[in-house]
Symmetry: none
Subunit: 241 residues, 2 copies
């Protein structure tokens, strides 16, 4: 189960935190670490703080962009401070982990920079935001500690249901991957521009809103196919070519 | 409530871990730190890793023996690796925190040395042992991470009991009504027929699938407006009128 969960660290500044995250993951039975443009990596400090979890560091996938880290994921959960005003379902770590076990999808937990977390654009790529309930006036957790909390909740839930009867995944058709959703949204943008619903010079927040809507719906692959078929039909019918 | 819980670190080797523990405590609303014979303290490394939780370090009580740190406590819970063979109730962090809230006693969570944990003698001073459920072949958590897990569980339980929603999902725009969704779906069907994506003679399950998709997304009113605007734009552009 937990093999389907990856930890994605975005733009980490301190290699020690990457090591601490690897250690926390291995302690809790997680294996897949993705590093998006780490500032300083590989690093002896990461190895030292990993305290033996070097296999996780050795197998870590280092990529340039968040898109690459998420391409084949079906459920993306981003860590967020409470105060962000991005309309997206906000859950606590326990609720987040419940989702992971209910959905049984290829899942990523995304952790932002030590000082600024995730950007709004990065948060918009997430189906859910998870907030670790820190006190308001001292709310920023150490990165390794945040990974520890999520990994711990995953482990607790895994142990809890280990004896429970296996629940059938509720999807009859596989969920769409991040990449499939991205291709659909590109296609949609093209058609919206062609039909002049979208003015490329003044796009406002149209595509942000569409992304939010379709991400929230957690499309399956058949639905993506249907939506793209609809777009192709519209393209064939539009006067302006 | 949480003011009655103290964190006791025994014989800590690395001052950085003391700082990390202080930060984790402050993040989760804990204040009382006891240091039993720390190897190196005070230390700039502790201050650095505390990342602003210096009040906790400044107020930390440094003592020579575990007895002193526990003297006025009524409930003592010691962290332990699973394999210890000391007859003492063993609980997981969630059960430990349940005890704390049920008993409402002056409580100490005791954390041992980085390399060897607590001695048998120290463990015998505890009413309960708490084991953070790590995987068996890589079971030793970083000290700061262990404090983080316990402090997080205390915080979660505190919020749960306070009846405060840990996180409040907020919708900035009112959700669409059933009628608004129905009008949108009718409009969609009209446009899909016009663009010949939908054949009224063989509609298959297209509209059923679209309803399921958009119902699941729980559209808000702004999104319905946007989707209908898109349909209107498509209608204006289609060749067949």
């Amino acid at each position: 189960m937990q093999n389907k969960v990856r930890i994605v660290l975005v733009n980490t500044s301190h290699p020690g935190n990457i090591g601490a995250a690897a250690r926390a993951m291995k302690n809790m039975g997680l294996a897949d670490l993705y590093l998006v443009a780490p500032k300083q990596y590989p690093s002896p400090e990461a190895v030292s703080r990993a305290a033996g979890a070097t296999d996780i560091l050795d197998n870590a996938v280092v990529v340039d962009s968040l898109e690459e880290a998420l391409a084949d994921c079906q459920l993306v959960i981003g860590t967020s401070a409470r105060e962000r005003h991005i309309p997206c379902p906000l859950v606590d770590p326990r609720q987040a982990v419940d989702l992971v076990f209910e959905e049984q999808l290829e899942t990523a937990f995304v952790f932002g920079r030590e000082d600024r977390g995730l950007t709004n654009e990065e948060l918009q790529r997430c189906h859910y935001h998870v907030h670790i309930p820190s006190v308001e006036d001292f709310s920023s957790l150490n990165l390794g500690a945040a990974v520890q909390v999520i990994a711990y909740e995953l482990r607790m839930k895994g142990l809890l249901i280990a004896d429970a009867p296996v629940v059938a995944p509720k999807w009859d058709v596989p969920a769409a991957t991040v990449e499939q959703l991205d291709f659909f949204l590109e296609h949609l943008e093209k058609v919206l521009t062609k039909t002049e619903f979208l003015d490329p010079k003044a796009p406002r927040k149209v595509m942000t809103r569409f992304r939010r809507l379709y991400q929230r719906a957690q499309l399956d692959q058949q639905e993506v196919g249907m939506l793209r078929g609809m777009l192709t039909a519209v393209e064939k019918c539009t006067k302006v070519d």
